[in-house]
Every structure is written in structure tokens, then in C-alpha cells.
Subunit: 367 residues, 2 copies
């Protein structure tokens, strides 16, 4: 994706500069967002959904770039667990991304894309921008914030830093701190992008984009999103469109073909520099560190918030053990929290897939 | 590594073409090898050690390229579990590799490097070449074959295909079949190499080699060699030579610095095309498939062979469950087998590291 971001997405321009954890600030920030369902007259029924690393604001409805259904159609909509006949759902593209919110592909004050002059952002910066979006929309308090994976990090960060903005916090398949292994996978992905000669220090917007590097990064990420069991069930060692091994380097195995497709198709919709910035924000995420070292201290302001945490037994990216640390911290401040580990074969991606037990948890918690 | 392989390593040239599983054959194959300890007059004390993906024949002593100690100094040597005052240890560089045995960097009949004209090889082809080496050395029966990781695959393949050549088979941290997840990681690595413009379809030996792609491949592999716990213990979220995060893309975290170093240093000693060929051989490895579908059938000829299998509880690349399948197959043919899962924090790399319990197992089994 070598084009600079356009303004064809629904968005607001924040009227004050966005303060950043780095000490810098970012002026003229656009926050692109979508909504579904009517906002009640007393504005009490708004739910903010945070998206994951490569997600976007198109939770429901047709995606304007890919033409595919929204990424959480199964969870959000009329009669769905997050019922848009009852709730006003908001989802905003995170700052640093490439679907209409200000990111490295956006034009800076000099009229050129920021590229690597874009400031390094954090999960808290992403949340701060969305709180300013709520201000612009005149919404003070949310019925709930909801997110899976990086969306769950934002939900926890929101609870920690803006405890008065949401009555309920639902965080799924996530963590309060990126582990060494999490960082390692992201660093490998960044090196893959930066190794692509088309990356050119990030200044590729007037030419070819580093699609090969970005595809390799995406392939590695996809492996972490699926469980070993899930990969075995889905692909095993089955061959792709052939009866015997080719004794060559074509994609003999279905899993190879799948990964190549996932890598290539991703480059059509995502900006490589955004991938660098967002993975960096995730690697920097450590709620305990923000609070001075003790995770419980991050939640002292959130004692009145209701929490629901969900992990999946086959998720090896953000594990049940990671989630238990959050539960213990919330227990330490006596915040009301329910926690469930669900059994699902799909690994980390379970939060996006057909897991009826998750639907039930979400339905019960949101109501 | 852009130079073609030299003949400065100790080697034999096989006097017959090497038959390959692909149906092709390879003429004039060199097999580079090293030995330690004296061969007994009756030739009854030879132990063949098989090396792993990026290993080589330099088990003990100073490595001629890196200057580092041999890769299994802790296990092999005078008074060590594989005691070179008692045993004659042989280790050969696998065919397809780049440390003196014939591989894609070697010169073909036309005087040019094979590059991608090198035939796709299998684990069984690697073993076959080493059995021909034994023939050349006049060694009929081995006291034992020993290997970890891909070395363990060769040990199992040797037992299945050449059951009369070894009295004992010690296979550590390995599997009888590459899983979908194993294949996925390798495919991602191959794509990283092939995405490097210096790769040029494999014809890079007269110019710059695809070091950036190979470094990314190595980084990904290193993540799979370590356990999440091991990474956390070794690095956690500790910063590298700084007190605070840089809010940039330098290697802030120690784990990032470690991975970058591992990636870069690897390119000094390994050939990218060899990485493609050897990972392909591993992905093709499925002993059950070779035997017609049932793993036990692979071992029908090995009923008289003594087996020892070792897994590590934190190894998520080749797991204890993978090893149990081998145990069950050996049980089904009533082959004598002892199996132990050792507890060690290092993940897959445990077979190379300081695990005293492994030393005891090896000592006991080899004696």
C-alpha cells in the first residue's frame, strides 16, 4: 500500500494537539470512526470497541477496501451479543494506523507523509485519542469498552487511565504486558519490513512499497494467531492441489499456500510503516510499569468499574496465565471482576471466530 | 556467505552416485566429517552423531570458521557422557549443507555452483550419504547413532531405513513428522530469504548474498528454539544499555538486541540456499508416510535396536507429545525403548545446553 491516506473515511479532527507518552504532541489529529445503532437521548448506551493490530473501524457492514464483511459481524449487530438495536456502537481506527486516522502515511505540516518522522506512540496514546473523539461526540460515559488482543490492551489501558469513562470493561485474549516472546516476534517482523529495499527508511510513499517484507511479517504473525492444534486440524500435512510432493520449492503443503496468501493479501490493505509503529506500541505496553511497577496500582481508580476477562486455552500469544495476572491485580483493589478461560481450538484468533461460549459471555456481561 | 564451498575440510568423495528420494541421483558427492577418539581394532566402538539444521561436523574442538568451541563440547570428549577415550565419534556435515559436504554452493559438473539446480533432498538422503561414508571408512556397525532436533530425525530415519547399522539409537528433542506449525515457520523463513533481492533466484554466489533475508529467517527460528519462560528469564522486558525507552526503533529491549545479533552473526557462517534445502528436507520428513501411513511399520526392521528417546517439557517446537507417538510406534513393534521427558527451562535448545539430567541419560544409555 504505497498511497498516502485519504480523507474518504468518516472522521473528526481533534481540536487540540494529542499529548503523547513520548513527551511529544501531535497536532491536527484525525480520528476515523464508524458507528452502528442509535445513540440514546441521554447518551447512556454507547459502547466503544477497540480493534486489534491490523483491524480497523469497520466492525460491521462491508469493508470499503476489501469488500469483505466487518471483522466482528458475528458479535455486533441487531440481535447479536452486542445488540445494535439497544446499543450505540463506536469503533475508531487507532492513531498510527492507516484507515483514515492519522498515521505515518498521513501528510504532516510540510505536506509530505510523516513516514518515520511520525512520533512513536503507545497504547495509552491510542486510547487518549479515542477519549478525545468521545469528547468531540459529546459522550461522557460509556456503557462499556470492549476489545480483543490489542483491543483488550486498550480496554485495560482505558480502565487504568480513564476509569470514569466506562462502566464496564470487557477484555478478551489480551495481556497487561508484552512478554519477551511477544517482543521477539514483533522485532523479527519489523526487521523483515526494514530489510525490504523498498522500505527506504520509510520513505516509500512515492514509489514501490515494501510488500515482500510486510508479507513475511504477516506470515509470522499468522503463525502466532493459530494454535498448533488448530493448524494441524485445518491443514495438517495435506498437500495443495497435488498428489505427491514436488521435490521443489512451490507451496506443496496447504499450510504454505495459506500463509503465502495471507501475506500477500495483507499488503493490499495495510501500510508497512503503520505495522512498525503499532507493533512498537504493543511492545512498549506494560501497565504495571506505567503504574510504577505494581499492576494493582494501575487499577486503583477503577474500583467501581465492572470487569470481564476472557482467555482461550489454546491461545499461546496471550495466555491464560497472562490474564490471571490481571485478575489478581483487580482482586487486589477489590474491583468487581469475572474471569473465564474458554476452550476453543483456534488459538489467539478464537476471539474473532465461531466460539458460541464467547457469545454467551459477551451477551451476559453487556446486558 | 557468498563464497562457494571450498575443499579445506576433511572429507571423502563417495565412489558411487548418491540415490535420492526424488528419483534423481547426485554424482561426486563429498561428505565432510570429523572424528574424535580412537577406532578400536575390531571397529566396534564407533558412534555417529547427527547434527541439527545449522550445525556441522565440528562437535568438539575449535570451529575453523567461527573460532568457537564445538557445538557439543559439553557432551562429547574425554570423560564426557560420550567418552572419546572409549568411543570413536564420527560426525558428518549433512548433504545440502555448506561446511564441506556437497550442497547448493558446491560446484556442479559445469563448474558453476548448483544453486537452485541442486536436487531437493530428504532426511533419508542425508542419512544414506552418511551410511556411504561409513562404507568408505570400513565401518559396518555402529555402537550408537545419536542426534538432537534434525539430528534426531536422522537417528530415527537411520533406525527405520538402515536398522542393521546401529545397535543403539538416541534421539533427543525431535519428531517423526514435521507438523503444520513446523512447516509454517520454515515456509515463512524461506519466504524471507527469497524476498531478499540479493537472493536472485539462488544465483548470488558471484555477488552479494541475501544476508538480510537469512538473518530474518534465523531470528524467527531462534524464537522457536527458546521457551517463553526461558526468554522471560533470560531477557524479560529489560532494556539494552539504556535507562528508559527511546521512543524509536532502536533495539530498546535486550531480547531485540539478542535477536539482531543472532540473525547477523549467522550469515557469516551459513549459506542461504542451504537453509532453503535443509528446511525443505525437514518439512518433507514424515516417517509414517514413508512406511505407508503407519509409523510402527517404519520400525519393523528395528526390533533388535535399543532406543532411547528424550524430550524436554518446555520444548514447543518438537514436543513430548510428538515423542510419545514415536514411543507408541516402537512399543507396537516390541522394540526395546526407554523414554524420558526432562524438565529444563531452555525450550528446544535444552539439548545443547547445561542440563545435567541429560548427561546422565546419555551416559547411561551409551555405556
Amino acid at each position: 500500500m504505497a498511497t498516502t491516506s485519504t480523507t474518504s473515511f468518516r472522521s473528526v479532527t481533534l481540536d487540540a494537539p494529542l499529548p503523547l507518552d513520548s513527551g511529544r504532541e501531535l497536532a491536527g489529529v484525525q480520528v476515523a470512526y464508524e458507528t452502528a445503532g442509535e445513540l440514546a437521548a441521554d447518551k447512556s448506551n454507547a459502547i466503544l470497541i477497540f480493534h486489534a493490530l491490523t483491524g480497523d473501524q469497520f466492525v460491521v457492514g462491508q469493508h470499503p477496501v476489501t469488500g469483505k464483511p466487518g471483522w466482528w459481524e458475528r458479535m455486533v449487530g441487531p440481535g447479536k451479543p452486542i445488540d445494535t438495536t439497544r446499543y450505540h456502537v463506536i469503533c475508531a481506527n487507532v492513531v498510527g494506523s492507516c484507515m483514515g486516522s492519522t498515521g505515518p502515511a498521513s501528510l504532516g505540516a510540510d505536506g509530505k507523509p510523516y513516514a518515520m518522522n511520525f512520533p512513536v506512540i503507545t497504547i495509552r496514546d491510542m486510547v487518549r485519542a479515542q477519549m478525545m473523539l468521545l469528547d468531540a461526540l459529546g459522550i461522557e460515559t460509556l456503557h462499556a469498552v470492549v476489545g480483543g488482543s490489542m483491543g483488550g490492551m486498550q480496554a485495560l489501558s482505558c480502565a487504568a487511565n480513564f476509569p470514569d469513562r466506562a462502566s464496564r470493561v470487557l477484555a478478551i485474549a489480551t495481556t497487561a504486558r508484552h512478554s519477551a516472546q511477544n517482543i521477539a516476534f514483533h522485532e523479527m517482523a519489523r526487521q523483515a519490513i526494514m530489510a525490504d529495499p523498498n522500505w527506504r527508511g520509510g520513505d516509500y510513499y512515492d514509489g514501490q512499497s515494501p510488500d515482500k517484507g510486510l508479507a513475511v511479517a504477516r506470515m509470522a504473525a499468522h503463525i502466532t494467531y493459530l494454535s498448533e492444534e488448530g493448524l494441524t486440524e485445518k491443514f495438517g500435512r495435506r498437500l495443495q492441489d497435488r498428489d505427491a510432493k514436488s521435490f521443489g520449492f512451490d507451496a506443496d503443503f496447504q499450510v504454505e499456500s495459506y500463509l503465502r496468501h495471507q501475506g500477500l493479501s495483507f499488503t493490499d490493505r495495510f501500510d508497512a510503516n503503520s505495522y512498525l509503529y503499532i507493533t512498537r506500541a504493543m511492545d512498549y505496553f506494560d501497565l504495571a510499569e506505567e503504574a510504577g511497577g505494581l499492576l494493582a496500582d494501575a487499577f486503583v481508580g477503577a474500583k467501581e468499574t465492572r470487569f470481564c476477562l476472557v482467555s482461550f486455552d489454546t491461545d499461546w500469544l496471550y495466555t491464560t496465565a497472562d490474564m490471571r495476572e490481571v485478575v489478581h491485580a483487580l482482586n487486589a483493589v477489590a474491583a468487581p471482576v469475572s474471569f473465564v478461560e474458554l476452550s476453543a481450538p483456534y488459538g489467539h484468533d478464537s476471539f474473532l471466530l465461531d466460539v458460541p461460549a464467547l457469545d454467551q459471555v459477551v451477551t451476559g456481561f453487556i446486558a
